[in-house]
Subunit: 150 residues, 2 copies
Amino acid sequence: MNDVNPLPLTTSVVFRLGTLGSVVTARFTTALAELELKPKHVGLMVALDSGAPPSQLELARIMAVAPSLVVSLADHLERIGAVDRVRDPADRRRQVLALTDTGRELLADCTALAHRLDEELTASLTGPEREALRRTLGLLGAEAGLPTSD
Amino acid sequence: MNDVNPLPLTTSVVFRLGTLGSVVTARFTTALAELELKPKHVGLMVALDSGAPPSQLELARIMAVAPSLVVSLADHLERIGAVDRVRDPADRRRQVLALTDTGRELLADCTALAHRLDEELTASLTGPEREALRRTLGLLGAEAGLPTSD
DNA sequence: TCGAATCGTTCGAAGTGTGAATGGTTACTG
DNA sequence: CAGTAACCATTCACACTTCGAACGATTCGA
């Protein structure tokens, strides 16, 4: 008989982060549907919101995603009026994306929505616990090259 | 002019958990490839490891996944010798899955792998920070019905 | 014993993302 | 100042994952 599992897989941060991230994203995705958006659309808007207007190819690099995917994401965002898409006059190969006022409002809606889900998700935590979680996730995310605001 | 963003989307726990979870899962998936496994296979083995041998349909409910998906996951695990699949003599409609010794070893490999990634991921955290993160994620995961061990 | 419910399986379909090929634009090089 | 190479966006075909409906086998209820 082997010894008892010293540290089960379920205790690993990787496992817990992955599984919990998946259910949280599922909830977020559901809520987002009312705005005609999916998480990647939001990711694109976040990238546009913080930083100079980049070309679609740069966006693809930032989001670690295929350039062809940026095309379809931008197509949709343009269709609902959330972004402007203009050829860069200085280099007419580039397509420069920029959030419209509508896009900024939409992003604000997503933000409100996320924070509402936050309260729901972390209702059982104390204030300091919640802040510690937020801070630690932000730190690890920043190390992984994810968008942050601290 | 509206006021400055009071709390950007990127500070929300939902956002950070979702994005970080996604990159962490990607790393885990890559590492898992050497064992001929994908995250859902591991999820199935975890479910089998902790608890009485359930039918495939129960597994599907536990994993919140379609029964037909459990079939293909179990097919693969059986092919590599990680699980036994026997008809329940008491009810020959049921297919009862159980980890083999090989399966338990494989699960131990996954566990070691996850904890190795843990160290890599949380290298910049202090010990207490790492434990607080683990604990909080476990708590929220348990509330969401995810497998735990506390 | 007969019909309804249950379990597992197969199969077709939807959704998501990638990579190769294409057309238009710019930059380099002799 | 050609002509070629590199670059950007786009389209399209494809792979992958997952689901839901249909089906056969088995069990349960009346």
